[in-house]
């Protein structure tokens, strides 16, 4: 109950921030742009039934790029910011535990990110309808829900990092350092290891080593792609499924690279930073 009161207050507070409005506008522009590109691609292939799926392909990239940024921007100041400004003294002076505060923040900020995603995707939905005159709502809804899940995972990461420090600067460095690691370094490290293992930094020959397929499936982005593939029963949302189509994989996927395992990976990404943040926040002097 207590966490819900915190969440409600936090949502009312955060949803009034101008930054959120700006982020949502950018997101709308990207989904409408993505919808346009998606429908153009569908038109090229003359594939009417695939409209929504093509749209999902087209929107997956901007979503997996923008949603983490939005969620981290919304999340990183959640706890550290209140500590820095001193409003945490007011909040914790009321009968809430520190866990209540962190969980309330997760719920409140997730709700904020969800609003942003829903606005963006509603615009995308309207756009594709305007461009093509037909949409398959079921696939679109599934895609939207999984994107909300991705947003939730990054809110957990952001709030987790925010709970570890009293400085919003440090929380921001942590959050965007992590994005740099996941988006830039991860692939590079993968290629480096692949080079050390096989003598080539890129996959040209079959079979792809299992460890490499597992490694590139681990960040939240690929896990999000895996989850979309698992639910929609389609391939093409992850690099692994691309390699599969190219015939570079023999003898099945390692379990980590299985589409359904994307959900497990997302859950771990949500829980591990959050748990570390909670344990730390629960112990420190404020």
């Amino acid at each position: 109950m207590s966490a819900i009161a915190v969440a409600k207050k936090d949502f009312q507070d955060a949803v009034r921030s101008r930054g959120l409005i700006a982020l949502t506008v950018i997101f709308v522009l990207f989904t409408v742009g993505g919808a346009y590109v998606g429908t153009q691609v569908a038109g090229v292939f003359g594939d009417e039934a695939g409209d929504t799926l093509d749209l999902v392909y087209a929107l997956q990239s901007p979503a997996s790029f923008l949603v983490p940024i939005i969620a981290l921007l919304i999340g990183y100041g959640a706890v550290a910011g209140e500590r820095e400004r001193g409003s945490l003294k007011f909040l914790l002076g009321l009968p809430h535990t520190r866990w209540d505060v962190v969980f309330g923040k997760i719920v409140g900020r997730s709700a904020v990110v969800t609003v942003s995603i829903l606005v963006g995707f509603a615009a995308g939905f309207v756009a594709i309808f305007a461009f093509t005159g037909s949409v398959s709502p079921a696939e679109y809804v599934v895609f939207t829900l999984l994107t909300v899940l991705l947003g939730f995972v990054y809110v957990c990461i952001g709030v987790g990092l925010s709970s570890m420090t009293r400085s919003t600067t440090r929380a921001a460095v942590g959050a965007f350092g992590l994005l740099g690691l996941l988006w830039l370094l991860w692939g590079f490290i993968g290629n480096l290891l692949l080079y050390l293992d096989t003598g080539s930094a890129f996959l040209f020959e079959s079979p792809a080593p299992d460890w490499y397929l597992a490694f590139i499936s681990l960040p939240p982005g690929p896990a999000y792609g895996s989850a979309i593939g698992a639910v929609l029963g389609e391939s093409g949302f992850t690099a692994v499924s691309f390699y599969e189509q190219q015939g570079l994989i023999e003898g099945g996927l390692p379990v980590v690279a299985e589409p359904w395992f994307g959900f497990v990976i997302l859950a771990l990404w949500a829980m591990i930073p959050l748990l570390i943040g909670l344990l730390r926040f629960d112990r420190v002097d404020l």
Binding site: A5, K8, S87, F90, G93, P95, D285
Partner: protein
């Protein structure tokens, strides 16, 4: 609540931040139903003590209990019975005053009327206004309204008159009295004596993390009644002079500034104090004696070099 249980009890509490000792071996007991003034200069450890009560920080050693609940393991039970006006806090700039009070009411699970609370602290017209536009004094009043919501058994007020003008400070004291009369215990800290003097049943004076005096206000007055403050101007201050004077029976405090010594002592030892200075090799150039006020006592307890 069993009336015999102390509202607040600290037993041999030490708190260190790194190498710095904020509190050392503090024992403190506040009875239910009293207004306890917690006095001391800035940096004496008042806020650390309050932060310990609220479980914002944890003791290095010792035990902190509020209504016999352990501050650390039963902090929620404490805060369910306690209204808090913290020091150095901020509120949510984008939310209105009423939203804050509604949030406090919901958090405490009570059913107070937000408007009545805002009325009581004197800011009924600011209910719809966003707190970002509040003055420091209005913010302080709003936080007080949140603190007294739900009639808590204990009110912890850290420097409550911060940002208030004299009239506002008087209203604050009035509310403190009303809350005590309703049956609440009030623990409030201040570095300004007159606020404590006007309203407190009992006063504790904290200095450098230790309780250096504790008594009722009238008790402190009595203790100071036959006290004299002797201001002695010397040609120079020889080594050990301070120690020799401080060691005299009837001398409670010696502070020095340059070659001027300020001595708090019993009326009848004045001449012995002067002789002690002369014995140490100094020449008394001038001296002045004045009756101690509570203010002097406070200042002698909380400032200057210790004897």
């Amino acid at each position: 609540m069993i009336r015999t249980v102390p509202a607040i009890r600290l037993t041999d509490v030490t708190k260190r931040y790194g190498d710095e000792t904020a509190l050392s071996g503090l024992d403190l007991e506040v009875k239910q139903g009293e207004i306890y003034g917690f006095l001391g200069p800035n940096g004496a450890g008042k806020s650390t003590t309050i932060n310990l009560l609220l479980d914002f920080v944890r003791p290095t050693s010792g035990e902190v209990r509020v209504f016999d609940f352990d501050a650390q393991s039963e902090g929620l039970a404490i805060r369910e019975r306690t209204g808090i006006l913290p020091e150095g806090f901020s509120l949510y700039d984008r939310l209105s005053g009423r939203k804050h009070i509604e949030f406090a009411i919901e958090s405490k699970g009570v059913s107070d009327d937000p408007d009545a609370l805002l009325e009581r602290v004197g800011i009924p017209d600011a209910a719809e206004k966003k707190v970002g536009g509040y003055s420091k004094g209005m913010t302080q009043r709003l936080a007080l309204a949140a603190a007294i919501a739900g009639e808590p058994d204990l009110l912890i007020l850290d420097e409550p008159s911060t940002g208030l003008d004299p009239a506002g400070a008087r209203e604050m004291r009035e509310i403190i009295r009303q809350e005590r009369d309703r049956g609440a215990t009030i623990f409030f800290s201040s570095h300004i004596l007159e606020q404590v003097d006007a309203v407190c049943d009992r006063v504790g004076i904290l200095r450098d993390g230790e309780l250096v005096a504790e008594d009722s206000v009238s008790g402190l007055r009595e203790a100071t009644a036959d006290e004299t403050t002797l201001i002695v101007e010397l040609d120079r201050l020889p080594k050990n002079a301070t120690e020799q004077v401080a060691a005299l029976d009837g001398v409670s405090k010696v502070t020095t500034q340059g070659s001027t010594a300020t001595v708090s002592c019993r009326d009848d030892v004045k001449t012995r104090v002067l002789r002690a200075f002369e014995d140490s090799g100094a020449t008394v150039e001038n001296f002045e004696a004045e009756e101690s006020s509570l203010e002097d006592l406070f200042i002698s307890y909380t400032t200057g070099a210790s004897a």
